[in-house]
C-alpha cells in the first residue's frame, strides 16, 4: 500500500499524470511497477514488441533509430514527466524507436497486456487516459515537425 501511495505521489508530479482524474491515477498506480535504470540500459528496442509503457520520474532516456551508415541517431530525449512506449497501446505493439537510458533514473512502468485489458474493461479509464496519450503523442509530433524544418540550417 505504501508503494501504491508512493507511485501515486510520483505520478502526480509529472505533467502527464498530474491532470488525470483521481480514479484514473489510482487505477494506473495499481497496475504500475517501478523501474530503476542505469545509464546505458536498453529498455526497448526498435521493431521489438513493446512490453511496457513508462512515465519517466528522473534521469533521461534517448529515443534512437538506426540509420545504416550513420549508426544510431538520437531523435528525441525523454525527460522527467514525459512518456515512452506509447506503442504498447496500438497494434502491432512494436517499438518505433530504441529506448536507451543516457542518465540513470526511475520510471513508472505499466505492462502492456495488463494495461490494454484494463482499458478494454473500464471505459471511464480509457476515456480519461486516451486524450492524455493523444496529447503526449501530439506534442511529440509537433516537435518532430519543428525538427523536420531544420530551422538552424543556414
Amino acid at each position: 500500500m505504501d508503494e501504491h501511495r508512493a507511485v501515486l505521489s510520483m505520478l502526480n508530479e509529472t505533467w502527464f499524470g498530474a491532470e488525470l482524474a483521481a480514479e484514473t491515477q489510482a487505477r494506473l498506480a495499481s497496475l504500475a511497477s517501478m523501474l530503476d535504470f542505469e545509464a546505458g540500459t536498453e529498455i526497448l528496442r526498435e521493431g521489438d514488441e513493446t512490453t511496457e509503457m513508462g512515465i519517466v520520474i528522473s534521469g533521461r532516456l534517448a529515443l534512437r533509430m538506426l540509420v545504416p551508415g550513420r549508426g544510431m541517431v538520437t531523435i528525441l530525449s525523454v525527460e522527467p514527466g514525459d512518456i515512452f512506449g506509447w506503442s504498447v497501446l496500438t497494434a502491432p505493439y512494436r517499438a518505433s524507436s530504441t529506448v536507451v537510458a543516457t542518465e540513470a533514473g526511475r520510471a513508472i512502468v505499466l505492462a502492456g497486456p495488463a494495461l490494454r485489458a484494463a482499458l478494454r474493461a473500464d471505459h471511464a479509464l480509457a476515456a480519461s487516459l486516451y486524450p492524455r496519450m493523444l496529447q503526449a503523442v501530439g506534442r511529440r509530433l509537433t516537435a518532430t515537425r519543428m525538427q523536420l524544418l531544420d530551422l538552424f540550417a543556414r
Binding site: 528525441l76 543516457t102 516537435a143 525538427q147 538552424f152
Partner: protein
Amino acid sequence: MVTSSLGTQWFLARSDLDSLVQALRADDRRVIGPTLADGAIVYDEITTAGELPAGWTDEQAPGRYRVRPSGDDHVFDYTVGPTSWKRFTFPPLLPITVADREGFTFAQPVPEIPPLAFLGVRACEVAALGIQDQVFLGGPFTDEDYRTRRGGALVVAVQCTRANATCFCSSMGTGPEVHGGHDLLLTEVAEGFVVEAGSARGSAVLERLPARQATHAEMGAAVDGVDACRSQMGEPLPMVGIQERLLAQLDHPRWAEVAERCLECGNCTMSCPTCFCTATVERSDLDGTRSTSERIWDSCFDAGFARVAGGDFRSRSRDRYRQWLTHKFGTWWRQFGSSGCVGCGRCITWCPVEIDVREELAAIAPPLPPAPEPVHVRPAAAAPGAYSVARVEAVHFETADTATLSLTELDPALLAGRPGQFAMVTLPAFSAVPISISRFRPDGIDLTIRAVGPTTTALVNLNHGARIGIRGPLGTSWPIEQAYGRHAVVVAGGVGLPPLRGLVDQLLAERSRFSSVMLFYGARTPADLLFADELKALGERDDISVALTVDRAGPEWPGRVGVVTTLFDQVSCDCARMTAFVVGPERMMQATIQTLIGRGVARDRIFVSMERHMECGIGLCGHCQMGRFFICKDGPVFRLTEIGDTFNREGI
C-alpha cells in the same frame, strides 16, 4: 526695375526668359531645366532658354507617355517627365568609402559639388524635395553630401496650368499651387510669366531681371490657370487615414492580384521623386589594394533586396509590391511624419503594365478608424561610410564555420554599447555585414560570425593582429530592467545565441536583481553548439540554470534531443513573473512564444531580436524595413507587443 520683391508679383515677358537663365548662370551656377531629349522632356543642364521645350506638351496615361507639339509657344506646357530632381540632390551613384588595404584606412571621399539652379520645379516636385530633406536631414543622421547639393541648389518653381490623366497632387495636398520651398515662383500666362520671389536668394535674382509689376489681369490669369489644372484632376481621392487603412489590409487578396501583373522592373521606384533606398556595391582594383564602396539607387522590387544568408524575407512579387505601397503611403508617416507620395503620377505613367496606385489604394484600403502610434526611442547614428578601424586580438573557432573575433583598439563608442546591439563590419573590397556584438569587455568587444558569404568567410579567416573596419554600436539593446524582480529566461536557437551572450553576462553581473536566471539553447547538432566551453562552465554555476538541446545527435551525446520549447516542460517557476529574451529563426521564436504564452508569460514581457537584410544601419537604405519598423534602428530588439501582426508573417 525690380526692388525688394518678396510677396510682390511681377511679370516677365516670354521673350525675356533667357535673362532668367543667364541671371542664374551668372553666379557660376549650372542651370538644370527641362529639355527635349529621346522623345521625352527630361531635366538636364541648359545654357540658354532656347533649350527649354517651348511649343511642346506631353500626354500621359497609365503606361503611356508621348510628347507632341502644343501649337503655341508656351514653355512649361508639359507636366512631369521620367526624370526627377533627386538625380541632382541624391545622385544615382555616390562613392561613400575608399578603403586602402596597405594603410588599412577607410576614407570618406568629399566630391566637388558645383552650385546648381533648378528651373521648372513643379509643386509636387517642390514637395518631393521637402520630403527628401526630411529623409536626409530631418532624422538623427544627416547626409552631408545631400546637404551640400541641396543647400547649394536654387529652386525656380513653376505652377502647373494643366494636368495629365496621371496627376493627383491635389489628392496628396502638394499642388498644383506651390506652398513654399521655392526661391522663385513662375506661373505661365499668355504672353509670359507671373513671377514671385520666395526667398532673399530669389529676390536677388529677380532684381536682375527685366520684369515689371504684374497687372491684375495677369495675376488673375495665373490663378485661373492653376485652378484649371486643379479641376482637370477631378475630385481628390479619399486619403484621410490611408496609413492605418493600408496597414490593416496586409492579407488583402489584391496584393496577389496586382503582383500577377507587376513585372518588378522597378520603374516606379526609380522614377519616384521621393524613393531613396540604396545599396552599397564594392569596386576594387585588380590587386585589391584600393576599393571603393559606392552607394547606388536600389529598389525594394529588386529580387535580392531583403535577402539574408539564410533566405529571402520578401521572396514573392506580392511581398515586394505590398512593401512598396505600404511604405510609400503607410509606414512613411511613422518614419518621417508625412506621406511618401506627392501625387506626381510618374509611377503610373512609367509602369509598363499600367498599374495605377490610385486604383490599388481604392481596392485595398477601405476607410477604417485610426489606431494609436507606438512610442519609440531612436539610437544615435553614424554616417554609412564612416568606419573606424579595430584590431583582432584573438580568433576562437566555436564550430567548423563559426568563429568569435575578440576586437581591441576600438572606437570608444563601441565600448559604450549595450548587449543586443550590432555593428556593421567590413574589410577593404568587401561589402559590410551586420554582426551582433556577442560580448562587451572593458577594453574590447567580441563578434561571433558564421561564414555564410564572402565577407563573413573573410572575417572568420582573419588572424590575430588583423584589422577590420567597424561602425557601431547600432540598433536597440535588451531592456534588462524589464526583468528586475522577475525570473529572467533567455532562449536562443542556432546562431541566435551571440546577441544574447552579452545579455547573459549582464544578467549574471546584476544577478541579485532577478528571482532566477535561465538559459535555454537549442542547436542543430552537438557540433553546432556555440560557446561550448562557456556553456559548460555556466552549467556548473548555481546562480543560473542552463538547459541545452539539439535537433539530432549521435549516441555519443548524453544530453537532450528535441526542440527548444520542450525545455519549458522542466520549468517550475511562476511564469506570470517571467521576462523572456528570445533569438533564433522566426519560426523557432514563434514556437517559443506560443509555449511562453501557454505557460502564462505576459506578451509584453517577451522580447525578440529580428533579422533582416541591413546595409546602412541608420534606417535609410530601406532594406531592413519590417512593416512600421526598420530593424537596424528601431530594432533589432523589440517587445513582442510592439511588432504585433508583422511577426512571423510571410513576406514582410
